[in-house]
């Protein structure tokens, strides 16, 4: 089943990608959404019936090196693929109506390929399939992120992360002699690099997730449109990293440093994301910081309770995706206005959008409170409170407070497309319906959220909107530039100038050249017809004869 879905997606994706630009892109995108929905219906029917099927293709069979391609249908794979499938389905639907998308059809094709690559990643049973699918997702992400500056950072960050993973998997293969993920449990027996490999893997997934210190790649996505931003955040690289981490989590267990490090980065990222979401003026930056919080939360969940993420994963991802969509609705309604400081009072016109936002927040609370268990309760509550505080502040500034929008934006302010908004609301309602409910608890938390919106305890953070340095985020670029890139470049220049130019060209080559010149002059002088030359040759010849005689030379 998963195999056939994979093949259909690849075929349809490549076909659509190769199509020339057509006039009716919106209609074609609708057609693609219908195909995706049909595939999902078929997929969901099989998943719910517990259908399982093993597909293993022996790909490479060298003497001691066997690699297979796995695309088996089983519970684990369904569990992981479903949320991304849902996110892509929603993104494909948004793509039909999203007004600021220039290449609708191409994006739809990328979504299908994205899903196919993600299926390949989730079904991996060996590190090579994992790497290949991760690289494929990286390349697809490159095309989804269609802003030039964002792409540059995306390429370099991804390169570092992929090379880190590549190295870690190569070391694991060197130690274990196999690429099988099932054999990673033998890593402890190898008794080598017990900290190095896990830390390298963590370093790679942190970069891909855009956690604290590595958020530069993620934050540059503020320049791409909301539909692409949400897709890239919840169906591409950051989610890939979580899936990879889950696949190789057994390796992390043997490291004494991996757990604490993961927890540290998770906590810092969550708080950093929280303050970023409050202090950034750009609505897309706010969404990205909220996403950063979510990724931090995922990592924290994984570090506190191993395995927890798998059981509750399916609904968390679409819920966080919907939060992005709730901000996207405002952005569309305000004619692509991005600055929250130029919004306010939107409730007067955007009543339906606000209602949908409330449903989405309710679904989010419902899903998060539903995963609370004895081991993760502090973690989930902390995240939930921080997330709601940030969201309350953001929604308050958009929908309430005084009107700050310019005349054009205010005049054109309208609720976004009814179909798209209704679909998101229906999906959020479905999430609420599907989640086992403690409505009293959810209701109380939702009440707290409304209270936060009214009192806005962090409203002073809006003063940071005036701070150019903070808003541009250039300070982080400068840190990277000064601490990492500049020293490497300076080293390269020094080596070039000192070793290549000064040492080899000016010292060795010049010396050799001068030495040859002097030798030639000396030889010329020796062979001149002067009396000194005769004397020198004569003395030299006699000396040679003498040396040979003394060493028993010259025959008997």
């Amino acid at each position: 089943m998963i195999f056939s879905t994979f093949i259909y997606l690849i075929a349809a994706g490549l076909f659509v990608l190769m199509l020339p630009p057509i006039k009716y892109e919106r209609t074609a995108s609708l057609g693609i959404f219908v195909i995706l929905a049909a595939l999902f219906a078929n997929y969901a029917a099989h998943a719910l019936s517990g259908y399982s099927h093993t597909f293993v293709y022996p790909w490479i069979e060298y003497k001691d090196f066997l690699v297979t391609v796995d695309l088996s249908s089983n519970f684990y794979n369904y569990n992981f693929i479903t949320p991304v499938f849902l996110v892509i389905l929603l993104a494909a639907f948004s793509n039909i109506f999203y007004p600021f998308e220039g290449k609708r059809l191409r994006l739809a094709a990328l979504m299908m390929l994205n899903l196919a690559a993600f299926i390949l990643l989730i079904c991996s049973q060996n590190t090579l399939q994992l790497l290949i699918s991760s690289c494929a997702l990286g390349v697809i992400g490159f095309y989804v992120v269609n802003d030039f500056e964002a792409r540059q950072k995306y390429v370099y960050f991804n390169l570092l992360a992929d090379m880190g993973m590549f190295t870690a998997f190569a070391i694991l293969y060197g130690c274990l002699g196999t690429t099988s993920l099932a054999d990673l449990a033998r890593f402890k027996e190898a008794d080598a690099y017990q900290n190095f490999v896990p830390l390298l893997l963590l370093f790679s997934v942190f970069i891909k997730s855009g956690l604290f210190l590595f958020q530069n790649m993620l934050l540059e996505w503020r320049n791409i449109n909301f539909n692409r931003l949400a897709l890239a955040s919840f169906a591409l690289v950051p989610i890939t990293s979580l899936a990879i981490l889950s696949k190789v989590s057994v390796v992390l267990q043997y490291s004494t440093l991996a757990g604490p490090l993961m927890l540290f980065f998770a906590v810092v990222s969550m708080f950093w994301g929280f303050f970023g979401a409050l202090s950034q003026d750009n609505i897309r930056s706010k969404a990205l910081y909220l996403n950063m919080m979510s990724f931090g939360f995922f990592f924290g969940l994984l570090s506190t309770v191993p395995g927890q993420i798998e059981d509750n994963y399916p609904f968390l991802l679409p819920a966080f995706y919907l939060i992005n969509i709730s901000l996207s609705l405002v952005n569309i309604a305000a004619s692509n206005e991005t600055e929250v400081s130029r919004m306010g009072g939107f409730i007067r016109t955007l009543k339906y959008s606000f209602l949908i936002t409330l449903i989405i927040v309710f679904a989010d609370i419902q899903i998060l409170t539903n995963i609370i268990g004895p081991k993760n309760q502090y973690w989930v509550w902390t995240f939930l409170i921080l997330q709601l505080l940030a969201l309350a502040q953001i929604y308050r500034e958009i929908y309430f407070t005084q009107i700050r929008a310019d005349e054009r934006v205010w005049a054109l302010l309208h609720n976004s497309n009814i179909f798209s908004a209704a679909m998101m609301a229906a999906f959020a309602a479905w999430l609420i319906y599907k989640t086992p409910a403690d409505f009293v608890r959810t209701g109380c938390v939702f009440g707290a959220f409304v209270l936060f919106m009214m009192i806005a305890p962090f409203r002073n953070f809006s003063s940071f909107y005036e701070n150019e340095e903070l808003q541009s985020g250039e300070w982080l670029n400068r840190i990277y530039e000064n601490l990492l890139i500049a020293p490497i470049k300076i080293l390269g220049r020094i080596l070039w100038l000192t070793v290549d130019f000064l040492f080899i060209e000016r010292t060795i080559l010049s010396s050799l050249s001068h030495f040859t010149e002097i030798s030639v002059t000396f030889a010329k002088r020796l062979q001149s017809y002067g009396w000194l030359s005769y004397l020198l040759w004569g003395v030299g010849g006699l000396g040679l004869m003498l040396w040979l005689v003394m060493n028993g030379g010259l025959g008997e």
Binding site: I60, R151, L159, A170, K489, G492
Partner: protein
Amino acid sequence: MSNILSLLSTIIILPFIGMIFALMAKDDEETSNHNVYNVGIFTVIVNLVLIWRVFWIINTSAPGLQLTETFSWLETPKIEIIFGIDVFSLLMIAAVHLAFLIAMTGVRNSPEQPKSMMVFALMFLGSMTGLFIAADIFSFYIFFEAMLLPLYMLIGKFGDIKKPVSLYRFFLYNLLGAVIMFVAVIMIFNIQSGMELSKVRALPMQETLQYFIWGAVFVSFLSRIPIWPFHYWISAVASGVKNPLVFVAVNLLPLTGVYGFVRFLPEVLPEVASFYILILEVISVITMLFIALIALINKDFQYKMFAYVTVYYIMYLLGVLSRADLILYNIGFSCFSFLIIVSALEVMSQYIYIRQENQGTSTPEGLLCKTPRLSFLYSFFILAAVGLPLSSLFMNNFLLLADLLSFNLRMGLMVVFSLILLAGTLLGSLYRLRDASKYDAEQTEAEDISPTLFALSLLVVFILLMSFIRPLWFVVGE
């Protein structure tokens, strides 16, 4: 003499026959010098068909040389010329031919004297092929030396070298290596008249003599590889060359050094030699880092390509020094894609260079924005070059690095770091070429590559992708 025209000897001779035809080709204004190119391209294609045939005949999973051909040259002293092939050397021959074919299409419209270019290129190709087929020390030495002459002529006439003095140094440096090799050959011949390469590897020798002979052999091979501090001559020449065919030829020279190590490295190393091998490994890693760092700051794309080629050759050398059978197998597959990628990238960059000159701009930044076909191909080859799963480089580099990392973690990590720097360098150059903000809309629109060349390049893309899926995909039943 077993058979005057056996398959392997035919493969060696064909480029030389092509060379004679190229010399005789009639070219005037009417034919626009295309006759001689057609001869060159036809020769390479015919030889590729023969090489394909050999792949079908040999047992690709069997070790050792196959299809051995022996020719008696002299009775006193008894010298026999032996040819033989295994999967590794056959892959190298196929890759060199494909690289040449791609490079030849890149210089098809070159205004320079095409006849002499093709003649020397075919001569060089014949010598390279002979080197990979040689199974005795004499023919190995002859081909090892013979390729220097056409190479010198190619660089001298078409290389567009800014500093002619570096060309002389480069030639002298290589000649010195060859003379040292000659001394070693004579000494080996004095010990045992049986000159098969496989026997030379296990030749019993006195300890002192052993060091001298192996030292001489290794120094001669190292003279071909841009190892620090001798990288200078090669970098000065390689980074100056603008003609893709000459660039490919120059950058095939280090392959002969690496291949020499494959064929000559003793099965059991003497203890002291292990120490020297360690020093060689350390110097190799330093060179990789050194060149990768310089490539990062150097704006010249040719230097970046030279750095890329050098780092990969040194990585292959480190793999060869580890002397694991599986690694050798992987180096063959990896190198196959590597040579094709280098050649294709060089042709593309030449194309960009010409477009830039036609537009009269100082930098080619943003040039790919308006040339979708060129942009697709260039991006593909750069992504394949940095090691994405688009060619056999990916899988085989994985195994190679796994071996290097398990052999010595620090060394392996430095290799990885060099590869990252290089990948960053290449991606940076791609980024600049696609930078829409740098593209001047006022300029005349850059011309994209022709549909014919695009179709041919797609064939190269197909070959690379297939090499990723199955390295020996073109052999039935593999």
